[in-house]
Symmetry: D2
Subunit: 272 residues, 4 copies
């Protein structure tokens, strides 16, 4: 199967880039399954039902959320009506929605997606991601219920994301981090066959500060004083994510970063 | 000028990789100036005088340190005898050593190196990096005292590192982050001519958890219990860093990640 | 001199308690100088000019602020017109207003007030409080320019507040912590004559969660989900603070907690 | 029943104070049950079996631990042999020992003790204390299995500790915080009958920095540089804790702080 994971969509720039590019990428990369983290797509904070629908229409099969899952209050109700949207498994015991789901893919394939929050350097306390992911993966093991397994770890610390990678290697097709909004250059296939990248990067304006217009972040950092709200950057959005090709056993036989548009050098894998 | 910056050297694997590769890289990349962050080179924690000398002998012109600057207590005395070692500008008012220095480079060129710690998600409080770097750069401005300026921001948060990049664009040849030990895939030249990469990555064993053997980090993450000390991974070390070519005005006209050895895909820029 | 320090005023409950009680306390305790921290007096977040004036009219000589100093944006302009309001010395280099001031008190006495933020467990990074306070105290030393010196350390960690106490013992009449909104039971006179209490407590509704109505904090802690904004508790406000009597040398010869109204047991020192 | 809870024992000063005073206090206060948090009793870090035995011999019925539970590695094995020692419920899934236990008390009474860690401002991530305590209390409800219930919340943030108090009011005889090492002045009986105090304070040298000799903490705060290890203060230790008298329904009908020895003003309740 050919899988694509796109990192945190930030604001209009990110949405526009995803909506414009994803239909073409589905064809060009012969994609079987597409996951898009959209936790920052609504003016930088959270996700609305309208935006979620636009991203699904553009070709996403699953939309994930992170610590900003419920910044838009309508999502509290909407998520229970739209099973293709996942919030982190360990967001809160009482959170609506779910954090893992087995999706149907073309040709009778089944894809398990699970997303969890890290706990290091996060603003709020969350439950243990390792046991949460482990429980989700046990229900639909790779090769025994799931033809592909995508694990997203939405976390700040590189150490925690790397540990998730090693721990679930052998049980996932792709283990990918999100949340820092900067893609890492460490795409690799781990020894037991999981594709891994510490952070997928974001889909948004790379001429800002992690997707936000840079004026306000710079003011706060340099002067220590707030001068208003954070707003997404309005420059041309770039896509950033990870492409994985799995073999019959669900393990990765190829992994490649994908970068398209905006300020980062373009990198779109060739698929034959 | 041709500049190379190598990220945090971790343990013997990192040291061996640097010592083995740097002499060849100096020639192959026609390097005029090399900076190596070595804050984790002594068993993962700090730097000794012996290791510093080995890194200088291998071809480094400047060795920098981060939050682990004085994990090896001998460095408290040694740093005042070795002006080529820099600790972060804002480490502490009373810290020995200095955080910025104007170095002599070939052909009468002068290179200013300044290193500062970020403040977001760091275990200890530090002074403001923006004003600290600004003061250092005012003493030897790019193009008026310094032929090249290298700013290292040793920080966890991508937002803070990106803000440093934007803020000092136009005043530096290279602005590069360190500390997360994972290279980012966002090498770019900012609008006013500074080469930028959010994190240089590390020099060490990429089959661990940010350079450390993965057993103990995994135990702590998964069980919540410590089972011993962190020790550096002993797999083959990979080099990770950033190569920059500056023009006569000291601005970057080319930037490229450099990755060599270990588990990351090799990427060594061609220099003619 | 007889000094009174009242901790963080929270919302209407706290304001009403201060305004009702302070005129009587001024007479009963023969107060020469009164400092009130009012950083949470405006609906729990910040201070308005109107509320500041009410607190001054009730008998405060100085109103201090903490990390919530500028939650009400009008304070950004107002503080420069009202020198009796102090924001923390180390809030930000570019913050309006000042963090220390020498006030005139009855009978030709002069009182220096200085307030600084701690750095441990605070949501934002701040500059070093120790050097900031030290510089302020050097300008008007106790016994040589200032007849009384009040140091407020607005901080979370008991360790940091205790360290401030020990460090400035001998140089202040009173060193008192704020910010946790819970009074500590450790009022004491330190060896070199400074009265000390780790936290003054708050003026507000003690039947809440640190002055806020308990419904929303409990919801967030128990469910992990936000259900709305924090609002101040509306129960009867209690006053909490510290009373100090200084001798001719400005050192404390008596220290006593003051608690009045609300749910805490009443404790008002007798003054003859 | 008459219950006494003593806060974190720090080093020899704290141990000596507990061992000297507890036998007399048991008689003087007609104590039925005594809990002592001893997480800092072994040179400031953790607990050894030898020290635990000394504290039991002095009259403790239960010894609790906090985030420093296993700083002394021997406790990893010892705790499973000594059911009277409790580590926090939410320390880690895989931690040895338990976090709640029903103890036998005189006259056929049964006392449930449960201890949990807070999550705000703690150095490591822990599981949710609210659900952990709730589960423990459901097994032996107050008045239906337990004649008295003591809940200890070992936490930094006053907000979290206060929320625990409100949440378990009605289900506990005493809810008391530990970890900050400074007693709070807010002993009260909550509306549904639970005695509450935000922090019990510590048993140790109050002329230090939260029980540690003040030289090293001051050095680190003022200079930003470490100069050695933290060692407990060696001044006379003071006891600090909370005394509670429960009625036949297990609810508190009296609560009083207890302070004895050292630098804090003495406060020992009269018991008839
Ligand atoms: Fe995000
Ligand atoms: Fe996020
Ligand atoms: Fe490092
Ligand atoms: Fe570092
Ligand atoms: Fe406050
Ligand atoms: Fe505050
Ligand atoms: Fe403790
Ligand atoms: Fe503790």
């Amino acid at each position: 199967m050919n899988l694509l994971f796109l990192g945190d969509v930030v604001g209009r720039a990110g949405r526009d880039a995803v909506i414009a590019a994803l239909p073409g990428l589905r064809a060009r990369l012969k994609l079987d399954f597409v996951v898009v983290n959209a936790e920052n797509s609504a003016a930088g904070f959270g996700l609305t039902s309208k935006i979620a629908n636009e991203i699904f229409e553009a070709g996403a099969d699953c939309v994930t959320l992170g610590d900003h899952a419920f910044d838009q209050k309508e999502m509290l109700a909407h998520i229970d009506t739209e099973p293709r949207i996942l919030r982190p498994l360990n967001y809160a015991n009482s959170a609506p929605g779910g954090g893992a789901r087995l999706f149907n893919a073309p040709r009778g394939k089944r894809v398990l997606v699970a997303v969890a929050l890290g706990r290091i350097f996060m603003a709020k306390p969350f439950g243990d991601p390792f046991s949460a992911i482990e429980a989700a993966l046990k229900k639909h093991p790779l090769g025994a219920g799931a033809d592909a397994v995508i694990v997203e770890i939405h976390a700040e610390a590189t150490s925690e994301k790397t540990a998730v990678g090693h721990y679930f290697d052998g049980k996932a097709s792709l283990i990918v981090g999100t949340h820092t909004h900067v893609p890492t250059a460490d795409a690799m296939i781990l020894p037991k066959g999981a594709a891994y990248q510490t952070d997928a990067g974001m889909c948004g304006d790379y001429d800002g500060v992690i997707g936000m217009d840079k004026a306000e972040p710079l003011r706060r950092f340099v002067t220590g004083m707030s001068g208003g709200r954070f707003v997404p950057g309005e420059g041309e959005g770039g896509l950033s994510g990870v492409f994985v090709e799995t073999g019959p056993d669900g393990r990765a036989r190829r992994v490649s970063p994908l970068r398209l548009g905006g300020r980062l050098p373009e990198l779109v894998p060739e698929v034959y």
